[in-house]
């Protein structure tokens, strides 16, 4: 959910950025990270754990914990909480250790 009214901060209407999540076209805002855009869309699960396939969301949001790792434009283990969202990014949930091509 995007914050509309805030007593101290202003969040002006930003330009939209189109990207794909699990193959579907979705939209985020300019200034978003991949993780903040997904959270605004109500998407909480960013990946699954390697052994038990448990859902994973972000935890620290500042690049410390790797809980938000996803596959972005084919590259695995991207910390989406500190990676700025860009037009046409292709974002997928990660379920394994990732394969570096």
């Amino acid at each position: 959910m995007r914050i509309k009214n805030h007593p101290i901060l202003e969040f002006p209407q930003e330009e939209e950025i189109a990207f794909t999540f699990e193959g579907k076209s979705v939209k985020g805002n300019k200034g978003d990270t991949i993780a903040s855009a997904l959270s605004a869309l109500g998407i909480m699960t960013l990946g699954h754990s390697i052994k038990r396939n448990r859902p994973r969301g972000f935890y620290c949001a500042i690049g410390n914990c790797a809980s938000c790792n996803m596959i972005v434009n084919g590259v695995p283990n991207v910390r989406t909480c500190i990676t700025s969202l860009e037009e046409n990014m292709d974002v997928w949930r990660q379920k394994d250790k990732g394969v570096i091509k």
């Binding site: 914050i3 978003d32 903040s36 909480m44 699960t45 969301g57 935890y59 410390n64």
Partner: protein, 364 residues
């Protein structure tokens, strides 16, 4: 390999203030920051700062960051790398940085680490469910990106961070039904706690979380009461619905880069856990390497800034580029640091620093 005079890792208040002094002393500075903005924790702090007799008390955190940045950003001797993480530290002050997919190496004549802290985690059943977030993470999402990750939140921990983030959640439009605190008393300042109680938040002391409940994400939390030995009180379990469970149980210093080069560390709980040993010039056990701010002990931004100024001054002196007003400035910032730690909340820090001092004697 690219050579630089001073390399500063981390652009929070500590790193920014160190850069300010090193630049003023005539050094060339490379400042490396992982996120897309400088300012560290300050950029997401919308509240007016406490911090006693300090010049920045009553300022909002992000305004302080803005001021510190604007004072140095156009300096010709400053190079700032944003979206760049230092991933390796080697002897001879060599760092490897990762920016996008690219690794680059730099070498500094001296190096200052100001990487801040990371949030502690808590062990309970289902603590890995999406919807269990660090307090700082929630703050980052709401105050920087304008995204509210939950509407009905339960907060774990009643220290100042837990209280402040709860208040900021309410300002952003969420409901914070409950704050649970394992200790028998509220950890943070009473003013913050009373404000929350007036807004309808229940603060339950001697209470903790037993498990998060939900399939794909948090839907509720089971809480229990604790006796004076922190043991579960029988039949005290309750279930509270929520869509986000926010963990605010303290911070631990990020000293890990320093461990890569074998800088000595010590476990000092008063300072937040393992910390690098530093002397009174903020030098680690490897002299060209300095460390300041939360990464050498969890304190406050005001203290991190004073340490940054001091660290920057000492580092310049180390490089034979002593600031023209070195002695005066050292005295000024040492005094402010002393005043900051003089209150009742400074007791713990002072006890921790005493342990650091003792450990240093042992090393020598």
């Amino acid at each position: 390999m690219i050579k630089k005079e001073c390399i500063i890792i981390g652009g929070g208040p500590a790193g920014l203030c160190a850069a300010t002094m090193a630049l003023a002393a005539g050094c060339e500075v490379l400042l490396v920051e992982r996120s897309s903005k400088l300012g560290g924790q300050l950029t997401k702090q919308t509240h007016k700062f406490f911090g006693s007799k300090n010049q920045y008390a009553k300022w909002r955190g992000f305004d302080i960051a803005e001021k510190l940045i604007s004072e140095i950003i156009d300096h010709p001797k400053l190079t700032v790398l944003l979206n760049t993480t230092v991933v390796g530290l080697y002897k001879d002050q060599v760092i490897t940085v990762l920016s996008g997919q690219k690794y680059t190496r730099y070498q500094g004549e001296s190096l200052l680490v100001a990487t801040g802290a990371s949030e502690k985690f808590l062990a309970f059943e289902n603590n890995d469910l999406p919807g269990v977030y660090g307090a700082g993470a929630i703050q980052t999402l709401m105050n920087i990106y304008g995204v509210l990750p939950g509407k009905n939140v339960v907060m774990i921990g009643s220290g100042n961070i837990g209280l402040i983030v709860s208040y900021q959640l309410i300002q952003a439009g969420a409901f914070v039904s409950t704050i649970v605190e394992a200790a028998p008393f509220i950890g943070g300042y009473k003013v913050h706690a009373s404000k929350l109680v007036r807004l309808g938040t229940k603060i339950l002391t001697s209470t903790t979380v037993k498990r998060a409940i939900g399939k794909d994400h948090v839907e509720a939390v089971e809480i229990i009461s604790l006796d004076e030995n922190f043991k579960e009180v029988p039949d005290s379990s309750r279930i509270i619905p929520c869509d986000a469970l926010c963990v605010s149980v303290g911070l631990s210093p990020m000293h890990h880069l320093l461990s890569m080069i074998g800088a000595l560390t010590k476990y000092i709980p008063e300072l937040g856990g393992f910390v690098p040993l530093i002397n009174d010039h903020f030098q680690t056990s490897l002299p060209p390497v300095f460390a300041v701010g939360d990464c050498v002990g969890i304190e406050e931004a005001s203290a991190a800034m004073m340490e940054g100024f001091l660290g920057g001054l000492y580092m310049s002196e180390f490089l034979n580029k002593k600031h023209p007003n070195h002695d005066e400035l050292i005295e000024k910032y040492e005094k402010e640091l002393f005043l900051l730690r003089d209150g009742p909340y400074g007791k713990k820090i002072k006890a921790g620093l005493k342990k650091m001092e003792d450990a240093n004697q042992y090393v020598e």
